[in-house]
């Protein structure tokens, strides 16, 4: 069989897998090959997106202006209260500081901002330049914390330290310094939700479910989070971990330090949402919680089924390609698309691990292409060859889909409707249906102006 991979870098062959043809173990978790056009970002980016949704904290970027400019209010993480997280604060390091150090500037900036905004905590993101000039961000934070009395947390997110995933780890380390600051007793029947960032208000949907189940939510990490809740996060009995890439580190650390067990969950799609809620209910072995959960799920499913059926009629037979951050999301999406009668012909992730890809291989149909850390050339080749009708991805994938003349659905920071939970499944179905059935695709070049006939 001729390889689908002809024309790609040799180093890439173990990161491209076609089910039914290839048998090797996929390589992943590596830094992108130098020179390859990667869709990936850096450590700073990883830390910034994880901590960004903490709405009553001050987020100060210690570095050159670009790092702050590009992360100014780009994540649709909604707040039910303060909006401080949406501002862009930066020490804007200049040549002078690169030579003489930026610690003094950082200290001044912190004092000014803390006085002005009275935040509940401050995160200081150390970027490439701060790391390379050797600023002792930790020492500055310590001093300012002592003087101001609020938690001032250094985030060691120098971009060169690794991939986005390493940034998640740095963010989790930062969170661990806040968790446990409040000395409060354990809360019975309580959970933390980890790895949801309240894009388009999704955490509110998830919260509602848990409350209906009779569980108490101590902290959401970090969607619509408040510093006070995070300080008490160690008092919850269970961590529900969504988004496999970003928050597993935190769950593991919390288990180690506070003995809090965790379960993996996904709130994408009907099956995964139901499973997540049942898993949580199972954990507590509480009759009323279990009954509430059963009722909740059956009610919700009954409520959404007619909508889903109607969308399935409009979508079935279509083919989808997806490229997302984490593999967990990819798996949820594949299942959700199946419910709509849509086959996934390409699935790629930026940060999937070996186990993730093994799981993906099991889940996918023969002929599905799996990609680790991909680029537009690879993706467009497979999209055309495999005749996809829909592309699901993030900011850099959207224009690619549109150039090719196929539908697109944003499942990343720029999504405008919540896709979590049962109602999220309806939103997802609606969005997919609206997109693939839009009349504009009939003008797509690949259709060869068939509308004239």
């Amino acid at each position: 069989m001729t390889s689908i991979k002809s024309g790609f870098l040799k180093e890439r062959t173990l990161q491209i897998f076609e089910k039914g043809i290839d048998t090797f173990e996929m390589t992943c978790d590596r830094v992108s090959t130098a020179g390859s056009i990667s869709q990936r970002a850096c450590t700073f980016c990883g830390s910034r997106v994880v901590l960004y949704p903490i709405v009553d904290a001050l987020h100060l970027v210690h570095g050159a202006i670009g790092c702050a400019a590009y992360t100014w209010d780009i994540r649709g993480s909604m707040s039910s209260g303060p909006q401080l997280h949406r501002s862009s604060f930066c020490t804007d390091l200049r040549e002078k500081e690169v030579i003489y150090g930026g610690e003094k500037k950082l200290k001044n900036a912190l004092y000014i901002l803390i006085e002005e905004h009275q935040p509940k905590a401050a995160f200081v993101y150390s970027t490439c330049i701060a790391g390379i000039i050797g600023d002792d961000v930790g020492a500055v934070c310590k001093e300012v914390q002592k003087k101001t009395g609020i938690a001032v947390i250094p985030v060691h997110s120098e971009g060169f330290k690794g991939t986005k995933k390493d940034g998640y780890r740095a963010a989790c380390d930062a969170l661990m310094r806040i968790i446990g600051m409040n000395d409060t007793p354990q809360v019975p029947l309580s959970v933390n939700i980890l790895g949801d960032f309240n894009i388009a208000g999704e955490i509110w949907v998830i919260k509602k479910y848990f409350e209906q189940m009779g569980l108490k939510i101590v902290a959401t990490l970090t969607g619509d989070a408040r510093v006070e809740q995070i300080k008490s996060a160690h008092t919850a009995q269970l961590n529900i971990v969504q988004c496999s890439g970003s928050m597993r580190f935190l769950a593991k650390q919390m288990k180690e330090k506070y003995g809090i067990p965790f379960i993996n969950a996904s709130f994408s799609g009907i099956n995964d949402t139901a499973k997540a809620l049942y898993d949580a209910a199972d954990f507590f072995c509480n009759k009323s919680v279990m009954e509430n959960t059963r009722n909740l799920i059956s009610n919700e499913i009954a409520l959404i089924t007619p909508f889903i059926n109607s969308y399935r009629n409009k979508c079935k037979g279509k083919k989808a390609a997806l490229y997302v951050g984490g593999a967990f999301k990819a798996m949820s999406l594949i299942k959700a698309l199946r419910i709509l009668g849509i086959q996934t012909i390409l699935a790629g992730t930026q940060t999937g691990s070996k186990e993730d890809y093994e799981a993906l291989k099991t889940l996918c149909d023969d002929g599905t292409v799996l990609l680790d850390d991909s680029n537009p050339i690879e993706m467009s080749k497979f999209i055309i060859e495999k005749k996809a009708d829909l592309f699901i991805g993030g900011v850099k994938e959207r224009p690619l889909a549109y150039k090719l003349g196929i539908a697109f659905c944003d499942h990343n920071h720029e999504r405008k409707t919540g896709l979590a939970g049962f109602e999220g499944m309806v939103n997802f179905a609606r969005e997919v249906s609206l997109s693939v059935n839009s009349p504009v695709w009939k003008f797509a070049p690949r259709r060869g102006r068939e509308y004239y006939v």
């Binding site: 790609f8 870098l9 992108s32 130098a34 020179g35 390859s36 056009i37 990667s38 869709q39 990936r40 970002a41 850096c42 450590t43 700073f44 980016c45 570095g63 050159a64 202006i65 670009g66 790092c67 702050a68 400019a69 590009y70 100014w72 909006q83 501002s87 862009s88 604060f89 930066c90 020490t91 804007d92 390091l93 500081e97 690169v98 950082l106 001044n108 900036a109 901002l113 002005e116 490439c128 330049i129 390379i132 971009g159 060169f160 991939t163 986005k164 537009p376 050339i377 055309i384 900011v395 850099k396 959207r398 224009p399 690619l400 549109y402 150039k403 090719l404 003349g405 797509a444 070049p445």
Partner: protein
């Protein structure tokens, strides 16, 4: 509310930037390089820099934007990025086959002192650069200047890398500045209408505003060709549009190849376009009837609607060259330009704006931010804001109409397709400005003053 954090009292501060009105050099370098036909920009730094610049350009143009990265690791940042860059050069030419690789640096690679020219020379020695392929480079430390300076540095890098000596030709180099693809197309069109053969340094029209083709083209049809870039060394003259973005490259061609340069303001508005057209005329161009007709139409529209402009207060935020021309244009229309700020540092800016406004009684600041602008507007409210997408926070908070222009624009379209330069561009701008002002009036005026005919 989002920007209710901004206090009214203005405090002088140096330690920080709040709501930046600029970004860093590399994105400007990337943008300039994209204006070369079959060129792949390359970011010599961490992966994130490249991802951010690409995302930003993608959001702005709604087009796929390609660029390579040296993908720095902790090791590279200690021992230098030479190995990464060498490997990247090999990989890029093998896999993506660009004709030109345009390398720019980042704060990281600049600070650790990577010697890019030496690394490129080594790559050539080792046969990593295939026959007929080019590598150009620019030094773009993120802690100096802004995205505009990055653009200027890359334009200089381009002429440094390509310009050749030859018998002086009839063609004219035009450095358009950090403007949009349709602006570059409009500048070319105007030049050609006068009979001048323009070589644009560089030209993103047809690269970042191309059509839907049904397939992915890594190198779209547009962009200045290598042959044309080589010709810049023996052009009749160079016109630099905007001293900050375009002056550096023009001066370099002048000094090294003796091609005389003339620096003009960006041709936004009546006077600046007049001056551009006059410059074309001085270089042998003939003012065509069509140009006169377009100018006439613009003046007709201006006089028809002047009462809606007169004494309206405006705040401007953006890049220095654009702001000077905007200030001049709006002042010419009768607006009262009250506040002008740019994130780009540069001491001459204040004087240029005051000259363009014809008054000292105006708030101007370089190396500033949106936070400061918001405070200025809180202290003296305006009727109109002209700025990029980030101005929408102030616009919403203070309920002031906004016309979007400059970089970046993430929330509207139009800038990819319609120019702001030239007489046509001025007409489009007026239409936009009137649109928002009159919508505002229609919505908020008392019922008895609500007019059908305006």
């Amino acid at each position: 509310m989002l920007l209710r954090h901004t206090p009214d009292t203005i405090i002088e501060r140096e330690a920080l930037t709040v709501q930046p009105a600029k970004t860093c050099q590399p994105v400007g370098a990337m943008y300039a390089a994209l204006g070369i036909h079959r060129c792949l920009p390359h970011s010599h730094g961490s992966q994130g820099c490249c991802a951010y610049h690409r995302s930003s350009l993608t959001r702005h143009y709604k087009e796929p934007v390609m660029a390579g990265t040296s993908s720095f690791t902790e090791g590279a940042s200690v021992f230098g990025g030479q190995a990464n860059l060498l490997e990247a050069i090999t990989n890029i030419f093998t896999l993506y086959n660009p004709d030109v690789l345009a390398i720019h640096t980042t704060c990281l690679s600049e600070t650790i002192g990577d010697d890019v020219p030496q690394i490129v020379a080594k790559a050539r020695e080792e046969g990593r650069v295939p026959e007929g392929k080019y590598i150009i480079r620019a030094s773009t430390p993120s802690y100096i200047g802004s995205h505009v300076i990055g653009y200027a540095n890359m334009v200089k890098g381009i002429v440094e890398g390509f310009s050749e000596r030859g018998k002086t030709g009839r063609h004219v180099n035009i450095i358009p500045g950090f403007v949009e693809p349709p602006d570059m197309a409009e500048i070319k069109r105007l030049a050609k209408l006068t009979g001048i053969d323009p070589v644009l340094l560089t030209d993103t029209s047809g690269v970042l505003n191309g059509p839907q083709t049904g397939h992915y083209e890594m190198y779209p049809k547009g962009g200045t060709t290598i042959d044309n870039l080589k010709r810049t060394g023996y052009a009749k003259a160079t016109i630099a549009l905007g001293p900050i973005a375009s002056g550096l490259g023009a001066k370099f061609i002048d000094t090294k190849y003796g091609v005389p340069c003339e620096t003009l303001n960006l041709p936004i508005g009546i006077r600046a376009t007049d001056k551009f057209v006059e410059a074309l005329k001085r270089l042998g161009g003939v003012i065509d009837d069509e140009i006169e007709y377009e100018r006439g139409q613009l003046m007709d529209a201006v006089t028809d609607m002047q009462q809606y402009f007169y004494q309206k207060k405006v705040a401007l935020v953006g890049d220095p060259d654009q702001l000077v021309s905007f200030t001049e244009f709006l002042t010419d229309l009768g607006f009262s330009v009250r506040h002008v700020i740019t994130g780009t540092p540069g001491k001459k800016f204040v004087g240029r704006i005051k000259d363009a406004a014809g008054t000292d009684q105006i708030n101007v600041r370089e190396a500033s931010d949106y936070f400061y602008l918001h405070q200025l507007i809180k202290n003296e409210k305006v009727d109109l804001i002209i700025g990029n997408t980030y101005a929408k926070y102030i616009s919403r908070d203070m309920d002031i109409p906004l016309v979007r222009t400059g970089f970046p624009i993430y929330d509207r379209i139009g800038h990819q397709y319609f120019p702001t330069v030239g007489y046509k561009g001025a007409l489009l701008l007026i239409e936009k400005i009137l649109g928002v002002l009159m919508d505002h009036q229609d919505r908020y005026c008392p019922e008895e003053q609500f007019e059908l005919v305006m």
